[in-house]
């Protein structure tokens, strides 16, 4: 429609070509993005296009000039129609109309008798002129609309490709922060603008610190306004016009997408539509991440509750039995010590001590497991040396391992680990304690460490009976023991603790029978990025 309006305007300005050019200047600005999505509305571009349109008129006239007299005026009209078509093909609607009108005027002026006048001597030439004008306008109009459709199709395809690329990457993003990163990068690249995603917290509120990390300056009140209203807010400050789009999922607001166009640029409606589509996609992805997080949380809570129940049932027996022994032995010593021989008193004392030890070990295991399972991440991690961790664990268990031969094979050039030292020492200690419980004194325990792929493999081997036909994996379950009814104290939490510790560090632990006999426990701990750096040089 607007194109037609402009052609009417230009029709009105036929008398002076100067007016046509001026009127034409505004056309792309008024209709930016709809007339021609491929060409940004710029003043000098419009100017040059209209100048080209006029140049096509001149060129047609120059071509036709030598033919005058040799061919009929009808055929000269064909040259002008061709010119108008070309103009429509290359220059857009406004210039095409200018070319068509200019061509007809030129045909009339230069070639229709009487020449060098706009008068028409023979009425048949009036048909020629009107026909030429109509044909030129229709053809150029058709060409322009075909071009526009092509442009729209290209833009559509571009948008689909952008959406596809972004949704594919969003599907791979692990959490809300990664999703926000992916989206900001895609939106920024697509619109040649700076984009940033502000994430809300669990309660759906926006915080100041969410705004300070991004590459763009964010107006927090505006972002909050967008979030509250659920509609996009445009902020025009000085020359920049940034856009705030709320990302509202099914229930809660997930965040705000902020887009800053490059300096001096504005987002055209086409781009705004694309932006809204992208924002919708992004909101869905964030919603998905949020729901996944909620599901994981509730699953973990259910697991914790189940563990607590098993735990209570299981330890009540293991606590009561030694308590009964302690209480009775204590009362014996206190009430009838005069009747007891020196030797018997000593025996009772040792019994109390031993039972207290067992209870203490059990309690600390239970507490440790509870603590490990309830914490989400590592509280205190630091750069630690594998050799040191192994050495400490061996030292802690020295009293248990007096009869065993311990061989450590730890290469000097191992990278440092970023771990919680106490927990890893506990892991190794539990494995060593297991060895001392289930293998005979005098056998050999080997501790090896090596880099495997992007992690560190820590293996504890023994020469004991191994696991037999039993599935070693079941040992890592809570309250599972190698020999269910035996004199060996413990409730079967040691390996469960090991697994919890390994998982807390992003690693894993597994058990297997050694081909040459005996058991092997392999712990895999991922290496932190930056740990393989040249730490050797630090010691120089």
């Amino acid at each position: 429609m607007r194109g037609d309006v402009s052609s009417v305007l230009i029709d009105a300005g036929v008398a002076t070509q100067l007016v046509v050019v001026r009127a034409g200047e505004r056309v792309p600005v008024l209709t930016s993005g709809t007339v021609d999505p491929q060409m940004p509305p710029q003043r000098d571009r419009a100017w040059s296009r209209y100048a080209c349109a006029l140049a096509v008129c001149c060129l047609g006239t120059a071509l036709a000039w030598p033919l005058y007299g040799r061919v009929d005026a009808m055929n000269i009209a064909m040259i002008y129609v061709l010119g108008a078509t070309l103009s429509g093909l290359r220059l857009g609607r406004g210039p095409a109309v200018v070319t068509a009108i200019g061509n007809v005027l030129a045909l009339d002026y230069f070639f229709v008798p009487p020449r060098f006048s706009l008068d028409i001597a023979d009425p048949q030439y009036l048909f020629t002129l009107v026909g030429t004008l109509a044909v030129a306008l229709i053809i150029s109009n058709l060409v322009v609309s075909v071009r526009r459709q092509t442009g729209a199709a290209v833009a559509r395809e571009h948008r689909t490709a952008t959406l596809y690329a972004m949704s594919r990457e969003l599907a791979g993003a692990a959490d809300a922060v990664a999703i926000a990163d992916v989206a900001a990068r895609h939106v920024g690249a697509t619109l040649e603008a700076k984009a940033h995603v502000l994430l809300t917290d669990a309660t759906g509120a926006l915080h100041h610190d969410a705004c300070t990390v991004g590459p763009v300056e964010v107006d927090l009140p505006l972002a909050r306004q967008a979030l509250a209203s659920g509609q996009s807010v445009e902020a025009s400050r000085s020359r920049e016009a940034s856009v705030y789009l709320p990302l509202v999922g099914g229930k809660a607001p997930n965040g705000v997408l902020v887009v800053h166009p490059s300096p001096g640029q504005q987002l055209v409606p086409e781009q705004l539509r694309l932006l809204e589509t992208l924002a919708g996609q992004l909101a869905l992805a964030l919603e998905r991440a949020r729901l996944a997080e909620l599901a994981a949380e509730s699953r973990a809570a259910a697991e914790r509750a189940a563990l607590r129940n098993t735990l209570l049932a299981s330890i009540s027996h293991d606590l009561r039995a030694p308590l009964a022994a302690i209480a009775s032995a204590g009362s014996l010593v206190a009430q009838s010590s005069h009747a007891l021989s020196r030797h018997r008193r000593a025996v009772l004392g040792q019994l109390i001590e031993q039972k207290a030890h067992e209870m203490s070990a059990l309690l600390s295991n239970v507490l440790e497991l509870m603590r490990l399972e309830s914490c989400a991440g590592l509280a205190a991690s630091n750069w630690e040396c594998v050799e040191e961790l192994v050495g400490t664990a061996v030292k802690y268990n020295q009293h248990r391992l007096e009869g065993w031969r311990i061989i450590t094979r730890i290469p000097a050039e191992l990278p440092l680990l970023r771990v919680d030292a106490q927990l890893i020492v506990q892991l190794i200690s539990n494995l060593l304690e297991n060895c001392s419980k289930y293998t005979a004194a005098g056998t050999c325990i080997t501790i090896e460490a090596a880099v495997r792929g992007d992690g560190l493999l820590l293996a504890v081997d023994d020469d004991g009976p191994g696991f037999g036909t039993r599935e070693p994996e079941t040992l890592f379950e809570k309250f599972t023991r190698g020999q269910p009814e035996s004199h060996v104290s413990g409730v079967g939490l040691g390996l469960a603790i090991c697994r919890a510790i390994a998982r807390l560090h992003g690693g894993s632990i597994c058990a297997m029978n050694r081909p040459e006999g005996g058991a092997r426990f392999e712990t895999f701990l991922p290496l932190a990025p930056g740990c393989t750096g040249d730490t050797r040089s630090l010691s120089a």
């Binding site: 207290a356 203490s360 507490l367 040396c385 961790l389 030292k395 450590t408 730890i410 000097a412 010691s539």
Partner: protein
């Protein structure tokens, strides 16, 4: 013990543990004064003039840290802290406040005695800082910056390793925190615990027979290092256990 009895100030609010520790110390030839709160402890520390203090970090009126800091303003008396295994941060804070050693709860009687005796032995010897330290087969001559193994072959220590060893020798038998080591060896502004780990590793390779099972340069996980020079390294004995529910 033939010399005069050492006086121990015991600051512990749990009466059961206080009772047991008192008996333990008295039967081992110490004189004991037991108090159950920080305020009384500070008064006693001034009037009783103990040779050693044993402090529980969790006291009813004020934190045990408070006591350590107050005492450190006027006295270098050795202080041993009683702490639960989980409270790594408290332990570090205690060392920063000026504690000399710690015993983990639940602890055993012999372990407490061994720690206390080691510290007392050290202060009686502390007047003449050893210039030559024997670590098993290796002899370290700090004054001349030389280290020899059993066959009198010289082992070369880098300047950093030497400074680290020197610092550990100066506090021999006592825990030196990571922070303290980094400050004394690398200077106040270059704190990278990775450098410390690597340096300790290379030092162990030069001094220890089995670096993964060190005899002398011991790790106190999460806290720091301890140089064991006497050879009677502390073991966690299987005998005797004293603990409270907290």
């Amino acid at each position: 013990m033939t010399r005069a009895m050492h006086r121990v100030l015991l600051i512990e609010d749990d009466p059961a543990i206080s009772e047991v520790l008192s008996i333990l110390f008295e039967t081992s030839g110490f004189r004991v004064a037991a108090v159950d709160c920080c305020e009384r402890a500070i008064r006693q520390a001034q009037s009783y003039r103990p040779d050693l203090c044993v402090v529980d970090l969790g006291l009813p009126d004020r934190d045990g840290l408070n006591f350590i800091m107050q005492v450190r303003t006027w006295s270098p008396v050795p202080i041993v802290v009683l702490t639960a295994r989980a409270n790594e941060r408290d332990r570090l804070a205690a060392f920063d406040a000026g504690a000399d050693d710690y015993v983990l709860k639940p602890f055993s009687g012999p372990e407490v005695l061994a720690r206390v005796r080691a510290i007392l032995r050290r202060i009686t010897r502390a007047d003449e800082p050893a210039a030559v330290v024997r670590l098993g087969a290796v002899t370290v001559d700090l004054a001349n910056r030389r280290t020899h193994d059993l066959h009198a072959e010289e082992t070369r220590l880098t300047p950093l390793e030497h400074r680290l060893l020197e610092c550990l020798v100066r506090h021999a038998g006592r825990v030196v925190t990571h922070r303290q080591l980094m400050r004394e060896v690398w200077g106040p502004h270059q704190a990278d615990v990775r450098a410390l780990r690597v340096c300790v590793g290379t030092l162990r390779r030069k001094l220890e027979r089995e670096p993964a099972q060190p005899q002398y340069l011991l790790t106190e996980p999460g806290v720091g290092y301890r140089l064991e020079t006497c050879g009677d390294s502390l073991r966690a004995p299987a005998a005797g256990i004293i603990s409270n529910a907290g």
